[in-house]
């Protein structure tokens, strides 16, 4: 049967060349386009390292000096910092709230971040810096790498800095970081590592990143004015579970609005961190890439669909007699349909031969982005699957109608023309 089909393809070479050319180009391009989805699928299976259920960030603002409500505390006053801490206390005392954490750009999906270089002996690594209070680890469920409750990390924070396990691997390959000392790249400061956290990622589809946690000291706020406090500190909190995040955010804000306006500070919003996740994914281009690549894939598949259905449609007109003869000498309609389907899939098989060569070249000339994920076998297998499977389905779908039409040819009628 297969041999027969290839013979058929060969005899109609001139008509088939176009569709084979199209299938070849499309499968070569699609393999490259779906690569993004393969990378997404593989990276999304690596745990994030934190959880954000029931957590919120507090958006804070302050009156400018030209505002009628502005209170001038004078330079170097501690009052702005004390007001800020009063806001934190009032949030903490709210009945629905379990923990409050303050820090500097410290919460997941925060749009600002700081990074710096650290070293141990000759090994250097860049890490994201987070200033946090001990409650942070429980709030976002960040566990120690060695296992155990998040609260262990909170306790460890009092004795030194905490690094993520990726950073430990980079700076202390094969050994343990706890109790060791690391230096900033310029060797001006040294820090004792007190514990190591699980590996962490920035978001679901990113690679593992290096994190370093420093204890946030409230006394550093003293003497800062409102603007500096607002720019350098953030408040996050976690509620009991089982609450609708959007509803809670708006009811909490309405309820606490006046209570949380202290001195020159006031609250402008309570944002569920899940909403910030959406913004991070958008800013990281995930939505845009998914949308564009889905669009391109659909475009190519539709083209293949139209190409195949059109070619086979015109073909059955020419092959009426042949098909009629097949049926007359005993082929079942089912067999006729199957033969046409095999014929179209045979075209894909032929097109895949040069396409595979292109795929190989895409790998060899390093066209695939390796920032998030290296070139693994899993990735190639998924790319090939995501290319071949949809293409085969579309081809079968497109051949079905012309094949069904040809199978319903009345042999007597068809042969009448002979």
């Amino acid at each position: 049967m297969i041999q027969h089909v290839f013979k058929l393809i060969k005899t109609q070479w001139k008509n088939n060349i176009w569709i084979i050319l199209e299938l070849f180009i499309v499968s070569a391009l699609m393999w490259y386009i779906v690569d993004y989805f393969s990378v997404m699928l593989i990276t999304s299976r690596i745990p994030l390292g934190f959880e954000i259920e029931n957590t919120y960030a507090v958006k804070i603002a302050h009156y400018q000096s030209d505002n009628p409500n502005y209170i001038d505390y004078g330079e170097d006053s501690e009052e702005p910092a004390l007001n800020f801490l009063r806001i934190v206390d009032r949030i903490r005392n709210h009945s629905e709230i379990m923990d409050v954490s303050i820090g500097q750009w410290h919460y997941p999906y925060c749009s600002s971040n700081m990074t710096a270089g650290y070293r141990h002996d000759s090994l250097r690594v860049n890490a994201r810096i987070l200033y946090v209070t001990p409650s942070y680890f429980e709030m976002f469920s960040v566990h120690p790498a060695a296992g155990g409750e998040p609260s262990l990390l909170g306790e460890a924070l009092e004795h030194g800095v905490i690094i993520s396990s990726g950073m430990e691997e980079a700076l202390f390959p094969g050994s343990h970081a706890a109790g060791q000392t690391i230096l900033t790249n310029d060797s001006t400061s040294s820090y004792r590592v007190s514990a190591v956290s699980v590996p962490l990622k920035n978001h679901r589809f990113s690679r593992r990143d290096n994190y370093i946690y420093f204890p946030f000291q409230e006394h550093t706020l003293m003497g800062m004015n409102e603007e500096n406090i607002k720019d350098n500190t953030s408040i996050t909190f976690r509620t009991r579970s089982g609450m609708n995040e959007k509803d809670f955010a708006s009811s909490f804000k309405a309820e606490m609005n006046t209570q949380l306006s202290i001195g020159n500070f006031y609250i402008t919003g309570i944002i569920p961190i899940s909403e910030l996740r959406t913004l991070t994914l958008k800013a990281d281009g995930v939505y845009e890439s998914v949308q564009n690549r889905t669009g391109f894939t659909v475009f190519f598949l539709l083209n293949v669909f139209l190409g195949v259905i059109g070619t086979f449609w015109l073909r059955i007109k020419k092959r009426r007699e042949e098909i009629g003869l097949c049926i007359a000498v005993g082929s079942s309609r089912h067999q006729v349909m199957r033969q046409m389907m095999t014929e179209s899939l045979g075209l894909l098989l032929i097109a895949l031969v040069p396409a595979i060569i292109i795929w190989g070249n895409l790998i060899l000339v390093e066209t695939l982005p390796v920032h998030t994920l290296g070139l693994t076998w899993q990735r190639f297998a998924l790319n090939s699957l995501f290319t071949i499977l949809p293409l085969s389905l579309v081809i079968i779908l497109a051949t079905w109608y012309p094949a069904w039409r040809s199978a319903s040819i009345q042999p007597a009628e068809a042969l009448h023309y002979e």
């Binding site: 000096s65 083209n303 015109l314």
Partner: protein, 434 residues
């Protein structure tokens, strides 16, 4: 003669409905995707109200303060001082406008609330701070009142221009409200004028509300780094686009002169020199690639978008031509020349292509409307309002022209080889097939 071709094409289309439908769909698909790119490019770069002078506009959206020993660089926009020293004093441009964008205002002030004195209702708004010439460089349609003038701008007068939508929200009506007062974060402002709503697709001018940026100290008070950088962006209107080079040179002179007055820091434009709207639109696509790379990438994408359907259509055409060989052979036998035959087939084909183009254009409008937020806004944008599009942005001569040109290119690409093949066949063979 062409009339006969079209008549014949119409007949052929009716006789081969299935084939025609597939051919039209294939063409439409190609046109739709390429037109999405063309329409987005058009909306981002064409002269559309209120940004009617985009083709003559130089955008200076960033500025850098650099310590003279190179140990520190601060990338931001311009301070009021730098704006006055290096931009307002320029001689070669027609006008210079300046503004603090909606996103920048949000970063500096947080969410902003508007209210009417005595009322408890508060409304958030997207605010932009501007100077007085801003109202000349951009062409807003005023429903009533007048914006702040130069004297009012320089004295930091608390006067605002509102959009129709914002005025309706705040005052409940849009007429006879100039002169009324309202509060922006508890600070009193007077309504100067009401303008028609602006689509967020207008990246320079979009806002709900405009105020002189001199009226809030947060925009002009930038003491750090010798007051070189701040939140202000300059929009320089040239007499004609060919003046851009001259203006860039003059800015460079002013910059050097300005730097002689500074002590530890210098003002540079190295992070992003003044760009035209077209250059800026291309830069926005991808900050990490050069504009040549981006143009090359998009040209390749468009080529692929045309090439794959072209192969597809060529395949259809080739099969179709096979059927028509006898007909062509007979016409040839009766003395029709190559050019006549090729002309006829191309015209017939163009007829189908144009129908496909029309369908494709409609589909592309649908795609642009549904995906307007992701297609027309930067992924870093702080603006959350939905992007509204006016019919004029979608349906205009340029867009139709792009669509027509793409149809012609696609038609040539897809039919050239099959037609060439057929026209080479010799007469005897062609008729013999019958």
């Amino acid at each position: 003669m062409y009339k006969t071709y079209f008549k014949q094409a119409w007949q052929l289309m009716k006789q081969n409905r299935f084939y025609s439908a597939i051919y039209i769909a294939g063409t439409g698909l190609a046109i739709a995707l390429v037109m999405v790119i063309a329409i987005v490019y058009h909306i981002k770069t064409a002269d559309i109200a209120p940004e009617v002078n985009r083709s003559r506009l130089l955008l200076n959206e960033s500025g850098t303060a650099k310590k003279k020993d190179g140990s520190r660089t601060i990338n931001y926009s311009l301070s009021y001082q730098t704006l006055k020293e290096c931009y307002y004093s320029l001689k070669s441009p027609e006008l210079v406008a300046a503004s603090v964008s909606v996103g920048q205002v949000k970063r500096l002030l947080g969410d902003i609330y508007l209210s009417i004195p005595g009322s408890k209702d508060k409304y958030t708004a997207d605010i932009s701070g501007t100077d007085a010439d801003y109202w000349q460089v951009f062409s807003f349609s005023f429903l009533e009142g007048k914006p702040y003038n130069t004297e009012e701008f320089e004295s930091g007068y608390h006067k605002a221009v509102l959009t129709e939508g914002m005025a309706r929200k705040l005052f409940g009506s849009v007429s006879e409200i100039s002169g009324k007062s309202f509060l922006i974060n508890d600070i009193e402002y007077v309504v100067g004028a009401i303008v028609k709503d602006i689509s967020p697709a207008m990246t320079i001018t979009y806002a709900d509300l405009w105020i002189p940026f001199t009226s809030m100290p947060v925009f002009t008070r930038t003491e750090e780094y010798e007051n070189i950088v701040g939140p202000i962006r300059a929009y320089i209107l040239a007499h004609k686009p060919s003046d851009f080079e001259r203006i860039r040179k003059e800015i460079e002179e002013k910059r050097k002169q300005y730097n002689t007055q500074l002590i530890d820091y210098e003002f540079t434009l190295e992070s992003r020199p003044p760009l035209s709207q077209k250059q800026e639109a291309i830069r926005q696509i991808d900050f990490s690639s050069s504009s040549d790379e981006i143009i090359l990438r998009y040209s390749l994408i468009i080529c692929v978008f045309l090439l794959v359907p072209a192969i597809n259509l060529s395949g259809l055409m080739a099969s179709r031509m096979q059927e028509r060989i006898p007909e062509i052979g007979i016409r040839k036998a009766f003395g029709a020349g190559w050019t006549t035959l090729i002309n006829q087939i191309l015209t017939e084909n163009l007829f189908l292509t144009l129908l496909g183009g029309l369908c494709g254009l409609v589909v592309s409008y649908g795609i642009v409307l549904v995906l307007s937020n992701t297609l027309l806004m930067s992924k870093y944008s702080e603006i959350t309002s939905a992007v509204s599009l006016s019919p004029g942005m979608l349906m205009n001569f340029m867009v139709f022209f792009y669509a027509f040109m793409i149809c012609v290119v696609l038609n040539l690409l897809s039919s050239l080889i099959p037609v060439w093949n057929v026209s080479r066949k010799n007469i005897v063979e062609a008729i013999h097939d019958k």
